[in-house]
Structures are given as C-alpha cells and as structure tokens.
C-alpha cells in the first residue's frame, strides 16, 4: 500500500506571515496578555461568473441590439410598461410586445453621478435619467448623454430626448441610451 501523505506541503505566498509576534512561553500571564492583542486581518478574494438569463425579457435585448426599443402592453387596458414586464401587475394577464423607438420621450427625473459603485467609478461623472414616453404608463432608466454633467439643471426635466443605440450590442440595458432630441443625427 502506497504511503498516504500525512503532512501538507509548505508554500510561500498567499497569506503566509513570517514571524507574527506571539509569546515565547504560553504561561498564564502571556495567555492573559493575548486579550490585548490587535485583530489579525487578511484579504480574501471572491470572484464569480454568473450565467444570467433575461428569461421572458429576452426579446427586449434582441430588439435593442437591432436598434428597436421595445415595451410591453396589456392588451385590454393598454397599460404600457416602458421597462417591459411579461405580465400586467393589475390584471395578471400576459402583456404583448410593442415598438416605442419613435415615440416622443422626455426626461422625467435625472442625476449626475460623481461617484458610484466600483464597477462604474471609471465612468463618472455620468448622467442617470428616468425617461417618460408618450402613451406609456411607466418609465425607463437609462444614461443621458449630450448634456454637460457640470451644468446640471432642473430644466433638464421635461427635455425632449431620443434613443441612440450602441452599434456593437453588449446585450445590456445600456445598449440604448438617450440624447437631447435636438442633438446630432439618429
């Protein structure tokens, strides 16, 4: 029978600390002194890759990557969700897809983020906006470009805007963003 390993291999690197102060003798005084020891803190990395499914919302992302802004609508009440929902929250019925790419749109609320979550810090300052659409009952969260982040103004609320699409889709809601209706070409 092969000899089974009974000792873990010693390695350098990782969390190895050389010579952490500790009493030479563990007599009662030394052990009592440990109550006064500062805490040891180590770094732990945590990386995960998720396989995220857009599920019933998937057609929206296919639409955005083909330069169409989709929404959903309850067939009877015509209640329209600018951020799509597959089921209406009032009737519980399945909604239908509609295309709102060319609908009149305005800024409903906004902010300029000068700080942010770690993932978005390199993009600061950026403008977040909630967009309202003619004939839609709910809003859509997006990035607003074409305005000066250093000149934030409540006058931006109500501004007419239009969608622009990334040429190279990332299959994220940021495949679409909005700009003032008056700026540039579609």
């Amino acid at each position: 029978m092969a000899k089974l390993p009974d000792q873990r291999p010693e390695t350098l690197g990782g969390y190895v600390v050389h010579g952490l102060p500790f009493p030479v003798e563990t007599d009662p005084d030394a052990l009592a002194f440990l109550k006064r020891m500062a805490p040891i803190q180590i770094e732990q990395e945590y990386k995960v890759t998720y396989l995220h499914s857009y599920g019933q919302d998937s057609p929206w992302f296919a639409g955005a990557s083909n330069r169409h802004l989709l929404a959903t609508r309850e067939p009877d009440s015509q209640y329209t969700y600018a951020t799509p929902r597959a089921h209406d929250m009032y009737s519980g019925r399945e909604t239908e897809w509609i295309d709102i790419t060319d609908r009149n749109a305005r800024v409903h609320a906004f902010t300029v983020c000068h700080f942010g979550s770690e993932e978005f810090l390199p993009e600061t300052p950026f403008v977040l906006a909630l967009i309202e659409f003619e004939g839609a009952n709910t809003l859509f969260l997006t990035r607003l470009l074409g305005v000066d982040p250093d000149q934030a103004s409540l006058d931006w609320i109500g501004m007419e805007v239009r969608p622009r699409f990334l040429r190279n889709s990332k299959l994220k809601p940021t495949d679409v963003y909005f700009v003032p209706a008056s700026s540039g070409k579609k």
Binding site: A38, P39, Q41, Q44, Y46, H52, Y54, D57, Y81, A82, T83, R85, M89, H108, A109, F110, T111, V112, C113, H114, F115, G116, S117, E118, E119, F120, L121, E123, F126, L128, A129, L130, N137, T138, L139, F140, L141, T142, R143, A152, L154, I157, G158, K172, P173, T174
Partner: protein, 454 residues
C-alpha cells in the same frame, strides 16, 4: 392579538469598522447591554427567553451565509427557535415586527430581536456595488447601479414637482448631525452648517456627501415580552421600567422594485387609497391636492413612497392616530438621505405631500433646547430623529431599524440621560413615538408605534 411590551434594548457603538470583534461579538455587546439593563445575568435570561429573530441584510458584505445561526449559537440561544429576516434597509424594522408577532400571536412569551451589519470588510465603492445589487440586475444595476444616484433622481423630481430646495435638505443634515452630538452611540458627532453641507463633495447631484448616511459596523437588540413574559422576567429578578412601553401599532407597505414601474395615479385614486384620514376629512387639504393634480402631479411617481404611506396609515389606524404631528411626540425615521427624510415627512402625514421641504426648514422637526445655529421660524412640534438618525448614527443595515426601536424605548422610558449620559436628547414627557424602517427605493417600509402606558 395579545399586548406586546418592549422592555429593554441595547446598541453597540456604531463605527466605520469594528475589526476588534467578529459580528457575533459585536451583537453580544448590544445583547448583553439589553440583558444587563433588566438587571439580569446571562444564564437567567437564557433560561427565560423563548426564542429570537435575527436581522442582517447582506450575505455579500461578510462573505458568510447563515450568519444568523452563528449569532444564535454565540449568544447561547440554541436550540431555541429562531430565524433570520431580510428586507433590505427595512430588515431591522421587519425583525422588530416579526418579534412582535411572535409575542402577539402567543407563540412566545419573551423574544429577543437582534440585528447587525458588517460593512467594513470591503471598500466603500465595492459596498456601494453590493447595495446596488438590491436593484433589478437585469434593468437597473447595469445602467449605473448606485443607490445615491437613485435617490438623487427621486429628489430632482421632488424639487421640480414641489419646489423643494437643497438648502431645505441641508437643514435635515444639520439637525441630525447636531442631535447626534449628544448621542455617544453615533458614528458622526459633528456640528455642521448649511454651507458645510452644500460645500461637501458632490456625490449624485444634488446630494452631497453630507446629505447621505455612511456605512457602518454595528449591532442592536431589543427584548419584547407578553404579560406572562413580564411576570417570568420579574420572577427571575428583572427590573422592568415602569410605566411600561407597549408596541401599539404595526404597519408595513411595499412597492415595485424598479422605480420606473411605480404608478402615477389620479386624484380620486390617491384620495381613496392613500390619503390619511386627516387629509380625507379636510376640505382645505382636498382642495390643496386637487390643485397639485391639476398642475400635473401624480402619485406616487418616483418622488413619494406609497409603501411608507401605506405602512404609516396601517400603524396609525391600529394606534388610533388621526393627526400624526400632534399625536406623536417623536419619530425615528429612515433618513438614509436628507431627501428621503423630507419625502418621509410627507408619507407619514407629518405634513402634506409637497410641503416636506418647507417643513424641514420650519423647525417643527427639531429638538427644543438645542442650538442648531439656524434661524427656525417655528417651534419644535414633533422631533424627528432626535438620536441623529442614520445620517449621523450610521447605517449598519440589519441593526438600524432595531437601533431606532431601542432609542424609542429609552425615550418612552424617560431613560435617555441614563443611557446617553446626557439629557439633551430626552423628549420631555414622551408618551408616544413612531419608528420607520425603509428598504430599497421604497420597496419595503415598516412603521411601528410605541407608547408609554399610563
């Protein structure tokens, strides 16, 4: 339902980081304080308590699942019943209410609600990322997930709709920071001016760093009991403060996770489903609201929290409160942002929708006898966040709602001086208070009312 009494509480020091102890040890500080305040020792209380509810928000912050049971065992409460609740920023408020349910239903005679959060194990910006995961990861997070950004959008709409100003918001920051100056448990005890608030770094326009609460490590615990529980505690030698503090109202509301999905209802629907009793009964207020709607206002939109209004109305109905500002002696509310304190004044009916800004600067929500360095046109009517609130005390999420409960118990017991070592924050002759805990962008909101029995 049986009467439920809040007999004791404890709060650990809230701090930017508590590397000196693991979360179990920090919870034990609050737990031990609550037990000691009853005059009991640890084994005696362990023998009496029937079970627990544990409150913490995020598994990400400490990269540890099942933290609840780790606290339960550290506190020596195994094998008694217990469970963990989670509801974002309202986790602590939900925990308090679940403990109330355990007593009110007859399931337990003595229940301890404990909560904590350890937010210091990641950098602030990673912490912001974790918190932003409490927004829809398909639709909201990828656009620039950042809670301060979400709240800033709400307030730009509030400003546009109602004319709320950044100076009015800054009044909230000045008030809460200066209140906390007298609260030794608070993380930030500072004297700021309106200019200090406006000159601090812009985080998400128009919210500056001093408009926003900070991340914290900390814990809180409260002990609730039935009449039989009181008897058992006292038989074991507990000194229960009298008059008793009773939890008389439990309200809770919810709203859609995505702000964009919130409805914009018409005037009739608002009046029927959301108006307070007082608003509905006043010709003048109905005319005021009709005018707002004629001008284009809709409810709740993104500027108001119908979850908060629903929770408040529910708790007020149970408590028999018709005129909150005159029938509440203080409110501890979830001021993660100065703007959300203003929004919450309106949700809780301390003023009407649209009047939160002027209310903030009026002086009505300030403590009497404290020099804020401000010219306030009106006298204090109902101090809001006399403790300093989240903005100054800190916001270790799972502990926050329970911290409010502890401070409310102490206010109603008249024992603020004993616990704070300072009488300044004691609301004189406090008989009834409300605590308000709030999650997400207004997704779960709890309102609980506590009263001193006569």
């Amino acid at each position: 339902m049986r009467p439920v009494y809040a007999v004791s509480g404890g709060v650990s020091k809230f701090a930017k980081a508590r590397p000196d102890k693991t979360f179990q040890g920090v919870v034990k500080e609050a737990y031990d304080y609550a037990i000691a305040d009853l005059g009991l020792d640890f084994p005696d209380f362990t023998a009496i308590v029937d079970g627990s509810v544990a409150s913490y928000f995020s598994d990400h912050f400490s990269r540890q699942l099942m933290s609840g049971i780790m606290v339960q065992d550290y506190l020596g409460l195994c094998p008694k019943p217990g469970h963990r609740v989670e509801g974002g920023g309202a986790t602590g408020g939900i925990c308090f209410q679940e403990a109330w349910k355990a007593i009110a239903s007859g399931s337990m005679e003595v229940c301890v609600a404990y909560g904590w959060e350890t937010m210091s194990h990641v950098e602030t910006w990673k912490g912001n990322e974790f918190i932003a995961l409490a927004s829809d990861v398909s639709w909201d997070y990828p656009v620039g997930g950042f809670y301060s950004g979400y709240y800033a959008m709400m307030v730009t709409r509030h400003m546009k709709e109602y004319g709320t100003t950044v100076e009015q918001m800054a009044h909230v920051s000045v008030k809460n920071h200066i209140n906390a100056y007298h609260n030794p448990y608070a993380q930030k005890r500072e004297r700021y001016t309106i200019q200090d608030v406006r000159n601090s770094p812009m985080v998400a326009w128009p919210l500056t760093r001093l408009d926003i609460c900070v991340m914290s490590d900390g814990a809180a615990a409260t002990i609730l009991a039935s009449e039989e529980g009181l008897r058992r505690l006292e038989t074991s030698g507990a000194r229960i403060t009298r008059p008793l503090v009773r939890v008389t109202g439990i309200g809770r509301g919810t709203d859609a996770m995505r702000m964009s999905d919130r409805p914009h209802v018409d005037y009739e629907t608002f009046l029927r489903d959301y108006a307070t009793e007082q608003e509905r009964g006043s010709d003048e207020t109905r005319r005021y609201y009709k005018k707002l709607w004629d001008r284009g206002a809709r409810y709740p939109g993104v500027h108001s929290f119908r979850a908060g209004r629903t929770a408040g109305n529910m708790a007020y109905k149970q408590t028999g409160i018709a005129d909150p500002i005159h029938e509440l002696d203080f409110v501890e509310l979830h001021d993660a942002y100065t703007s959300s304190e203003i929004q919450t004044y309106e949700d809780l009916g301390l003023c009407r929708y649209g009047e939160g800004g002027p209310f903030a600067a009026s002086g009505k929500a300030f403590m009497p006898g404290i020099d804020y360095g401000l010219k306030l046109p009106e006298k204090p009517a109902c101090p809001v966040n006399p403790s300093g609130g989240l903005i100054a005390c800190g916001h270790p999420v799972g502990a926050t709602g329970l911290m409010q409960a502890v401070f409310a118990i102490w206010q109603l017991q008249g024992s603020i001086a004993k616990h704070f070592g300072d009488q300044a924050l004691q609301v004189k002759d406090a008989r009834r208070g409300a605590i308000h805990s709030h999650a997400g962008t207004g997704t779960y909101v709890t309102v609980s009312t506590l009263e001193r029995e006569e």
